[in-house]
Amino acid sequence: MRIPLAISALILAIGASIGWYDSQQLASIREIRGQLIAEAAQHGIVPDLSNSPGSAHITKHDREDREASAKRTAAQYLAFGKEREAFEKTAAGHRDPAVQKEMIRRMAEFRERMMAMEPAQMAILIAEVRSDSGLADDTRRRLFDVAVLALSNNHPQAVLELFAGESERAKDDVMGGGYIITSSLARWAKEDPLAALAWIHKNSDKNPDLITEEAKRGLISGAAMQDPKLAFQLIGELGLKGSDNVIQSIVGVARTPDEKLATLAMLREHLATHSEDPARDQAARDGLTMLANGIVQDGFTSACQWLAAADLSPVELAGVAAGLNYDPSKSGETGQWIEWLGKSLPPGAMAADRIQYLVASWTHNDPQAAGQWLATTPDGPARNTAIRSYAETISRFEPHTAAQWALTLPAGQDRDATLKTIYQNWPRNDPAGAAAFGDEHGLR
């Protein structure tokens, strides 16, 4: 009996010594792991240990560590919220800019930390924020917003589940709820549009207050980043035909001229499914207006190449025209765009409206350049529209010059209307000049 006991004791002794050595090693590795997680967080990395073969074996100790860490962060975050609340009670003009800057820096630090946390940890933090009674409602809601937005950066599904699970309470807690839902759906759809779509289908009836038209547009805009064709298909699937801005949210994703041409082809394919003419035309105009914004940025020459390749219909051309905005940094091209409008659009209200707008903006910003362009532009309907706009714009400041330009217009209704506007705009400090002008043109 003594021998087996002795052997047992020996086995236990050897085991204990190996076990002690292993436990030292385990403690050391655990510390290194903690440091690496912290370092990863500083890099903005959410520790992704899912591919690690050992990741399935999260020990109780690990779980407790993570929970404790989440609670620590929550406590620090709430303490920061209290500090910020006290700071904001100081009158706006008396706040120390250095303290304000430090507050912004610390909030950014919290954001970064929260973005590195796992959904389960964020759930703990969010619950702590919600249950805190020491903060003013506004402060608590702001902290909640920031936390939820941080969570949505890497785990949009978790945010959507949070809201879907208790929408009433979540709605009470959040200030930017609409934006958070929309951006979370967009983020998710960017990675997995069909999964995001399935979530909408599953939750639409239960949470109609969350899954709004705006939220669905968010999904479509995210899907467009990955697959514009699918995004167009989703418009019908989500019942958004005719919805404001939905076309723009897809078209706006295209960047290069080739991408824009491809998107235009998809848009045309999508519009072929529309049965109603007014809605189809409106969607075509919306899409082309958005595309025009980017095209103009590329410069007049390359824009013209794109427009030639696009072979636009009159409705589409009207969309491009509506998207032409005056850009002071491309002031030198404004004259070319005005001429393009005159040549490309059929004469009528649309062409006149866009030409008047561009000339008026240009004249206000740089009357000399606009005047020089006008002086060298060949006669024609576009030039006459431009003259009207130029004369009316400068009439408040230089009425005599305005009158000279107006008199170059062919006699008729347009010239008379322009002269009348000049008279009405005549500077108040020159009543005699106004009276003489009125008498001369029979306007008094």
Binding site: P4, D22, L36, H43, G44, Y179, S221, S329
Partner: protein, 267 residues
């Protein structure tokens, strides 16, 4: 022989669990190291190798063309842009020295970028540089005011404010020199230069409490309609204790018929 068998089983199980935990931890550490290494090696904020790009000369070693592409992608991504990347870049910018920021702006100026990308990059750097050396920013970039494509000009009044707080007399004198040199001339129809109005607002906002006559001189040099505009722009920043001085300035410098439209809005 039962006790040794039991002892072996107990020790074996215990050591097995421990070894498994060690192995799990080691694998986690390896994964984390790999993720950190990948991030450092391919992080777009850092040049991968010194000398791999002629433009990465600043101490901060930022590859600006990559940043420009990221900015463009961020614009495209809109609400889905990666907030972590933004925070990391902001942090890096805040940590840059004055010299690094200036070198960065020089590098950006030398790159073949679209006007939009250049403007976005410049605007990103100019804020931190203003915090470090507002005088340098104003002296170096005042010509941007006449450049329609520049993004820097939108930030210069902040530089003016910061510099004027440090040395109002020197800032005021510099401003007058630039006006005399035509840097704030206007080509618009109404003759206003919005940047001059902003700068005047900054200087007058600083002078009217410490040296009301200096504030008065600045206003006198402006047409009457612009005085109303500049003073109206200051309304939000007039502290309770300075309201009397502000009111006096309005009464001295604004035509009687226009005074009420400013003073009625004074809280």
């Amino acid at each position: 022989m039962l006790p040794p068998t039991v002892a072996l089983l107990v020790v074996g199980t215990w050591l097995g669990v421990q070894r498994r935990s060690i192995s799990t931890m080691e694998q986690d550490c390896a994964t984390l190291r790999q993720q950190i290494t990948n991030d450092s090696g391919s992080a777009p904020l850092h040049a991968r190798a010194a000398g791999s790009d002629k433009t990465s000369k600043s101490a901060a070693s930022i590859h600006w063309e990559t940043i420009a592409r990221q900015f463009d992608e961020r614009q495209r991504a809109g609400a889905t842009a990666d907030m972590r990347a933004m925070l990391r870049f902001d942090k890096k910018l805040q940590a840059m020295t004055r010299e690094e920021l200036i070198a960065g702006l020089d590098e950006i100026a030398a790159l073949d970028l679209s006007a939009n990308s250049r403007s976005m990059l410049e605007q990103t750097l100019i804020g931190p540089l203003i915090e470090k050396d507002p005088e340098y920013v104003l002296r170096h970039f005042v010509d941007c005011i006449q450049d329609d494509a520049s993004g820097i000009k939108w930030h210069l009044s902040n530089a003016m404010r910061d510099w004027a707080k440090q040395d109002p007399a020197k800032t005021d004198a510099w401003f007058d020199q630039q006006i005399a040199a035509g840097k704030f001339d206007s080509k618009t129809l109404d003759g206003k230069n919005p940047f001059r109005m902003q700068f005047e607002g900054v200087m007058i906002g600083i002078w009217f409490t410490s040296d009301p006559s200096a504030a008065g001189h600045r206003l006198e040099a402006l047409p009457e309609d612009q005085r109303v505009e500049v003073l109206s722009g200051l309304l939000g920043s007039v502290k309770q204790e300075n309201q009397a001085a502000f009111t006096q300035l309005v009464r001295d410098q604004v035509p009687a018929q226009d005074q009420s439209q400013i003073l009625n809005r004074l809280k």
